[in-house]
Symmetry: C2
């Protein structure tokens, strides 16, 4: 049985941007921490919603019809099938929550695709 997970401590282990790391499992869902900065890619997850919770910094989740801006303590669930593109001017620390096996770049693929290694 795992013990308490300290999100700040886990984030201190993350070096790359846009590379989520799994820190806990909730049934078949993965709780991940991620550092992001700059632009991600437009992509869609056809089979699942995706939760973003910001811990530090300001994250913009661009949707095709508007931007959702998240500061610390704010969360947003991108509904399944909705194209989105995260963006951060300065480094953001965030938590992601989604079913195990979801690929970060969704249907888009490309060089930013990353395995969610467990830390």
């Amino acid at each position: 049985m795992s013990d308490a997970v300290d999100l700040t401590e886990k984030l201190s282990l993350v070096r790359e941007h846009w590379s989520p790391k799994t820190v806990a499992m909730l049934n078949d869902y993965e709780v991940k921490v991620v550092k992001v900065r700059g632009d991600f890619v437009w992509h869609t997850h056809d089979d699942t919603d995706e939760l973003f919770l910001v811990l530090a910094g300001e994250l913009t989740i661009r949707l095709r019809d508007r931007d959702v801006v998240l500061g610390p303590g704010q969360l947003f669930v991108v509904p399944r099938g909705v194209e989105h593109c995260p963006h951060a001017d300065e480094e953001v620390h965030a938590v992601l929550l989604e079913p195990a096996g979801v690929v970060n770049t969704g249907d888009a693929g490309g060089p930013l695709t990353a395995e969610a290694e467990r830390i």
Copy 2:
């Protein structure tokens, strides 16, 4: 489509202790905020894990073999089938995550059983 959810703002709407309120859905999971203080009841969720993330205060999750103590920014997943009893000396603000329909008191029932109303 819902917009950004501010956890502090949502918690400001919560008056009772031990009465989780749903603030977002992630597929068939509910994201809830809760204020707790004092002792809950020993209970078990046989069919699901349950995630606790503390935002403010110090939450002790008593297990039969030990205590897990969570401060702000720390989370713990109580595995399905594991008896637990949350406790807080002072008021704690936390996020809960679990499948929709999970009853807060699990198999124990009793007067602290609460519907997770959406706010």
